[in-house]
């Protein structure tokens, strides 16, 4: 089985020993997502300090692709500015694991790989929207708010 294009040592390692697994107290972002057609289920938690991801953890059940990709994603995100986090893309995650080919070869499994990225983006955007509301109600400038996008 050497050269399996998906189940590399790295993926199996991550799936057995995921990074940033666990929970955060009083997270600023809590995002749940699941893959409706299988059973992958992820809870992301993020702590934000001065517009930076000061901590990120996840819990959940998922296949090795899902767990490995989530691990990589949390590593990528941790410590980064929200502006940078906004810019993270599919291939940033897939690339780390050599899984870019999944987009082409497995339209089904790609969903496992990208579940956590979807949750992250959703969580971040919701956070921005909440912020915008706060800022609006606090009477702040509209431009400032839209910057959050």
């Amino acid at each position: 089985m050497t050269g399996d294009p998906i189940y590399t040592e790295m993926i199996i390692e991550y799936s057995k020993h995921p990074s940033n697994f666990g929970e955060i107290e009083n997270p600023d972002i809590s995002q749940h997502d699941s893959n409706p057609l299988c059973g992958d289920s992820i809870d992301l938690q993020i702590k934000i300090n001065e517009n930076k991801v000061s901590d990120i953890k996840f819990k959940g059940k998922g296949c090795s692709i899902c767990i490995a990709c989530t691990s990589v994603l949390t590593e990528l995100v941790k410590g980064k500015d929200l502006d940078e986090v906004k810019k993270i893309e599919k291939n940033d995650v897939l690339g780390e694991l050599g899984l870019e080919h999944l987009i082409r070869t497995s339209p089904v499994r790609i969903k496992c790989a990208l579940l956590s990225l979807k949750a992250l983006k959703y969580g971040i955007y919701s956070y921005f929207i909440e912020k915008m509301k706060d800022e609006k109600s606090a009477g702040n400038l509209k431009e400032e708010a839209t910057n959050l996008y």
Binding site: S34, P36, L37, V108
Partner: protein, 413 residues
């Protein structure tokens, strides 16, 4: 036909047109408003699916299932493009127009229609655009009202205005083309008047989509329904399109597999659009067959189809009006009608007409065409109806005329 394909080439694609019926008569199929015939490309697509790809979709990771899912979802995209719809998640697969309209009545209707509200339909609707609203309005204590049909077979739009003025109308629902009179509804005008007062509109496109270009980005309706089997596709598939803003507010209709996100014992969350409205194993093979039908229509071109039918209809109206004892219904103006011609012979029952001409292999529909409200309006029990499609020819119309003359002779008209 002004197309890359000649009529002769097209006819060769439809195996059934080679068939002999009754006493060795070549089939002359003129019941296209009821269901169309299928080109070999559609038949082969279904065949090929079962021989090479058959698997349940959306839920498995193995090769076949991925292929089947892709083919199924590509059809959705293709249909979105065919109707010029930007958001493919607005396309919901159903069994046909009837299920589509019932889905709206149950899901949207029961949420939005209350005591005293009014639903407006028309006198020339198919039963599938009347009965669901009778059931709904009865359940909700609401009222069903009808836009009348004038003597030229067109809707009397002043009546719409008087309903709208009550301020109680929740939905105006109508066919874009009458399946009996062939009348093409003044759709833009109805929608304009409804939009002005914020009333939702549903278009029954069962007879229009197969025969003319429909651009949903231009029509500003909220719901649109049609059936594959009337447009070269297989039986058992249809489409409900719902404007996303509206679809997002709708509760699910059928519960089951695929329409859920997470099921727990006592509560459940719904899947994304459009899956929320597609519970259970869908009619996968026929959706894929439908895809081949859309390809076929695109290859010919919807405008060419419309032009071909205008030509046939003109020819037929001209010849038929000369048959003894015949009455022809519907608009005189060819621009206002599709390729559907309803007619009667004086006091000869349509079933007798159909049986007599069937002996010559000519298939026309006779009966109430699931439009009994219109039959009452026309004060007839039934009519005969000849309806045309891409593969019909002037020779076939000549055959029809020949048979109709026999009827006149037999009944001494």
């Amino acid at each position: 036909m002004q197309t890359a394909l000649s009529l002769e080439t097209i006819r060769k694609d439809f195996p059934i047109l080679q068939r002999k019926v009754r006493e060795n008569k070549l089939l002359v199929y003129l019941d296209n408003a009821s269901t169309s015939q299928k080109p070999i490309q559609v038949i082969d697509a279904i065949n090929d699916y079962y021989k090479n790809q058959n698997a349940n979709i959306h839920r498995a990771v193995y090769a076949l299932a991925e292929e089947a899912t892709e083919a199924y979802e590509n059809t959705r995209t293709k249909i979105a493009k065919f109707l010029n719809v930007q958001k493919r998640e607005e396309i919901i697969f159903v069994r046909g127009t009837t299920e589509a309209i019932n889905l709206v009545a149950y899901s949207w209707g029961r949420q939005n229609v209350n005591k005293g509200d009014i639903i407006v339909t028309t006198e020339y609707e198919h039963h599938s655009n009347i009965v669901p609203w009778q059931l709904l309005t009865k359940e909700r204590g609401a009222k069903l009202e009808y836009i009348g049909v004038d003597d030229n077979g067109e809707l009397i739009l002043d009546q719409l205005d008087s309903y709208l003025e009550t301020g109680k109308v929740k939905l105006v629902t109508f066919s874009q083309m009458s399946n009996v009179l062939g009348t093409i509804t003044n759709t833009d005008e109805i929608i304009k008047r409804c939009k002005k007062v914020g009333v939702k509109t549903l278009i029954d496109g069962a007879q229009s989509v197969p025969h003319m270009k429909v651009d949903l980005s231009k029509l500003e309706c909220d719901f649109f329904a049609f059936s594959a089997h009337k447009m070269l596709g297989p039986t058992g598939v249809g489409v409900l399109w719902v404007r996303k803003e509206v679809l997002e507010t709708m509760q699910p209709f059928h519960g089951g597999g695929d329409m859920i996100r997470e099921v727990h014992k006592y509560e459940t969350t719904w899947n994304d659009l459009p899956y929320k409205f597609e519970a259970g194993t869908p009619n996968i093979a026929d959706v894929i067959g439908f895809s081949a039908a859309i390809d076929y229509l695109n290859k010919i071109g919807m405008d060419n189809i419309r032009n071909h039918e205008i030509e046939l209809t003109k020819y037929a109206l001209d010849k038929m009006s000369k048959v003894k004892g015949i009455t022809i219904y519907g608009p005189k103006d060819i621009a206002k009608r599709g390729g559907v011609i309803s007619f009667n012979f004086h006091d000869v029952h349509p079933h007798d007409v159909a049986t007599i001409i069937d002996k010559d292999g000519v298939a026309v529909r006779s009966g109430h065409h699931c439009a009994q409200v219109l039959m009452e309006r026309l004060d007839v029990a039934a009519t005969n109806r000849a309806s045309f499609y891409v593969y019909n020819t002037k020779q076939e119309i000549d055959a029809l005329i020949g048979s109709l003359n026999k009827v006149a002779e037999l009944f001494k008209l």
